[in-house]
């Protein structure tokens, strides 16, 4: 194991399984959606495509949180902010794509600016008609914010709950700001009524499937980046920081630089998740900045198992599927009990999350089996039945 090839280290069994599953979904769902006739038992509805696409974006957000929480010990309660900023960047591109097909037929201004009597496009909207510029912004805006924020915070050694609280303050301040109509981002209604992306109608089934596949690819790429980071030597330093920050610093590592780098990478990933999320749900609004959303995203990670990467994605899927399931029908008023119970139950009884607990159990199982085999060998001549 010590001398394993980097690629093998990168792709252990869980990771391979994860990527294979993800790939299978990314291929199977569009195929079953587009090629199978409606009514066929194998047909996957567009509803499910949209749903799954959303989950994949949440999964990517969870992955980005796991990278910093699971491996560096930074619990950011403001990751929703990076997610939303990426979403806004994408939303702005989509708004500009509407062109003169808005209800007021104004070729430049988005609708919400027209009816609030804006006379010209604010400068920060310039350039968003260009897809590549917008995509650059998807990475740059959350990344820059994370960099500046992290640069201040890590340099002055704000750690632990203090960091959590000020990240929460950051997303709360952004929430209040984006709610303001004068900010130029559509206020509470946010950006909506998108028409097309790169010339394809966002509502079309083909586009939906393409977005789903893109999201899966993005998730896979980000997953590999995360794996590469955490399995490298760099990753070992990160874990060192997580477990004993002062010691790592005394050993001569520049802890701030490490943290800052990972924090920024993580924010960019959250931004990408947001950017992919927006065309699939069709709206971005300041509600995404709500501190509660960020906290909920943290619980996805905790449920799946932090410090496992695959667990974060699994957690996002499980919790959001539960949300979809329990917010319909007779159980609807009790959904918050379930969610609340999940928070409490996970932290109390499953601190390592699903994957962590499973790994633990497997390890324990293996240990037990080993112990048993040793015991059995010793006791075999006398009492063979003792082994089982």
């Amino acid at each position: 194991m010590m001398t394993a090839h980097p690629l093998i280290r990168l792709l252990d069994r869980g990771s391979t399984l994860f990527l294979v599953l993800l790939g299978a979904f990314a291929i199977a769902i569009p195929v079953l959606n587009l090629l199978m006739p409606e009514g066929s038992a194998l047909h996957v509805s567009t509803y499910f495509v949209a749903l799954f696409g959303k989950y994949v974006c949440y999964g990517l957000l969870a992955l980005s949180i796991d990278l910093i929480w699971g491996y560096v010990g930074i619990l950011s309660l403001g990751h929703g902010a990076f997610f939303a900023l990426g979403g806004y960047a994408m939303g702005m591109y989509l708004m500009r794509q509407i062109g003169d097909r808005g209800v007021y037929a104004n070729p430049i201004l988005p609708d919400f600016m027209v009816f609030l009597n804006w006379s010209e496009l604010p400068f920060f909207w310039y350039g968003f008609q260009n897809f590549f510029y917008a995509m650059l912004m998807v990475l740059l805006v959350p990344g820059l914010l994370a960099f500046v924020f992290g640069w201040f915070a890590f340099r002055s050694r704000v750690t632990g709950v203090y960091l959590s609280i000020i990240t929460q303050a950051m997303t709360y301040a952004l929430l209040l700001g984006f709610f303001r109509n004068n900010f130029g981002f559509g206020g509470n209604n946010g950006l909506t009524d998108f028409k097309d992306i790169l010339g394809f109608n966002v509502q079309a089934e083909g586009t939906r499937n393409a977005l789903l596949v893109t999201s899966c690819i993005a998730l896979a790429v980000c997953f590999l980046i995360c794996r590469a980071i955490v399995t490298s030597k760099f990753g070992k330093v990160l874990i060192g920081i997580r477990d004993a920050e002062s010691r790592t610093r005394f050993l001569g590592y520049r802890v701030e630089a490490y943290k800052l780098f990972v924090f920024t990478v993580s924010a960019c990933m959250a931004g990408v998740a947001g950017a992919l999320y927006v065309p699939q749900v069709g709206i971005i609004n300041p509600g995404e900045f709500a501190p509660g959303n960020s906290i909920e995203a943290a619980i996805w990670v905790a449920v799946g198992g932090r410090g496992t990467l695959t667990g974060a994605v699994l957690g996002a899927f499980v919790v959001n599927y539960a949300k979809t399931f329990f917010t319909s029908g007779a159980l609807a008023p009790y959904w918050l009990f379930m969610l609340g119970g999940l928070f409490i139950g996970t932290t109390l009884f499953m601190p390592r999350g699903i994957i962590g607990t499973y790994n633990n159990w497997r390890a324990g199982h293996a240990d037990k089996a080993e112990a048993r085999s040793a015991e059995a060998k010793a006791a075999a001549p006398a009492q063979p039945s003792a082994a089982e």
Binding site: I165, R180, P333, L348
Partner: protein
Amino acid sequence: MGKFHDRILAFAVAIGLIVAAAGFAHAGPYEDALEKFTTDEFSDTAEAVTAVATSGNPLAAPLIAALQDGRLQFSAKDKKVLIKTADDKLIDAETGKPFAGTPPDDLDTVRVNNRLRGVIDAANGALTLMAPDPNQRYESAQQVFKSRDAAVLPAVEKALESEKVARVKKVLNEARAAILLAADDTSAADRIAAIEFIRARGDQDSLALLQSLPADLPADVRAAANGAIKTVERNLALWNTVQNLWYGLSLGSVLLLAAIGLAITFGVMGVINMAHGEMVMLGAYVTYVVQDVIRTSYPGLFDYSLAIALPLAFIFSAAVGIAIERSVIRFLYGRPLETLLATWGISLVLQQAVRVAFGPTNKEVGNPSWMSGAFDLGGILITYNRMWIILFTAIVFAALLAMLRFTRLGLEMRAVTQNRQMAAAVGIRTARIDALTFGLGSGIAGLAGVALSQIDNVSPNLGQGYIIDSFMVVVFGGVGNLWGTLVGALTLGIANKFLEPFAGAVLAKIAILVFIILFIQKRPRGMFALKGRAIEA
């Protein structure tokens, strides 16, 4: 035009009531007017009020009082008007005799709208200038000052002659000055004298009055007016600052009340309790339940409802807090981030539980009479509820400080805060202290809930509105130090209130948040951080 009409009406009512009170009774117009109350049209009611008031009938005064209090009943079918007395008896408005027989089935209250209410109020203002109660006279004089009704001038001058109480006399003089200034035919000398009175009053109304003076005044009057305007403006600017300070203090005390329990649990135990806001909410619901029981069973006790609710809210929230500590938090010590998530879950459960139990809508929590209204202090208006909350916060803070300083529990709590292992080593049962500390913090949150129920809405979302602000206060002030929390809360409250007038409420809040984020970079442990290794987790 409308205003003028109303004034005439007011005047007519006033004169009419004076005449009525004097007892000149002559039948006819009064009885004719009564019918107009039965049409259910405001314009008819207005006419009827005028007619009744000027009729001089002795029943006019009780009838108008009944109209004002919503006790005047009518039947459109029988064209009958009845006065309901305070003890629910019906009197025939025509004869003044108790109404015999069964009331008509379409009996309904004669409705009053704002305009009518204004007319009646203004008339009453003129009428009660000579009332025996000085407070009532004071209010009436203020009313006249506001209405600047020239028709009342003789009454004001008459009242001035007999007035003995200095503060009422002052307002009467101001009222007279206001009327004189507003009139067209006042001499220059009278005007200058009047301006002097208004300048001395020096409030917002005075400024408005002075600014509304016509431009073509004689030069000396103009000069006096301009001088007075400057003085009043300076005066107002000063009071404005005082007012902002007061508002800041008030906001700060609310923040402090909400945050202080958090400061204890966070400071002593290092526990981030995201369900803290829900403890506040539970306290507010306890107040609601107490008031509900009082309303249905012991209406006389309403003014004591808060006093009854305080201990109950403390006990209830503390009990819930201890239950949470024993069942969840104690398993999570040393894992602050997990505690944060678990308590967030608890907050969701508590919110939804309250929503299921009490319904999602706001619950009515009334202000006892001693918490309603306001009084003037110099140039600012101080509302009783804010004042009591500031006092209450001060008392809670002092009591808490005393408890930490002088009781055994306080001593043990401080010991655990400073060095947990050492405290355990000398025989303090830290687990018990943890539970009690958490109970104390939650109990104080419950007390905060009682106070907040007086100014905010009692709904399942109540706590969420305060949780982030509370964290800001605690982190800003410094963990483990109550004085830090105090200074933090007041600083944030006052800063917010000084920013709000020119930045607006939203930007003020954002500015404060950004300021805290930057401040934490400078002093990662807050303003008043505990020194030493113990808290460096």
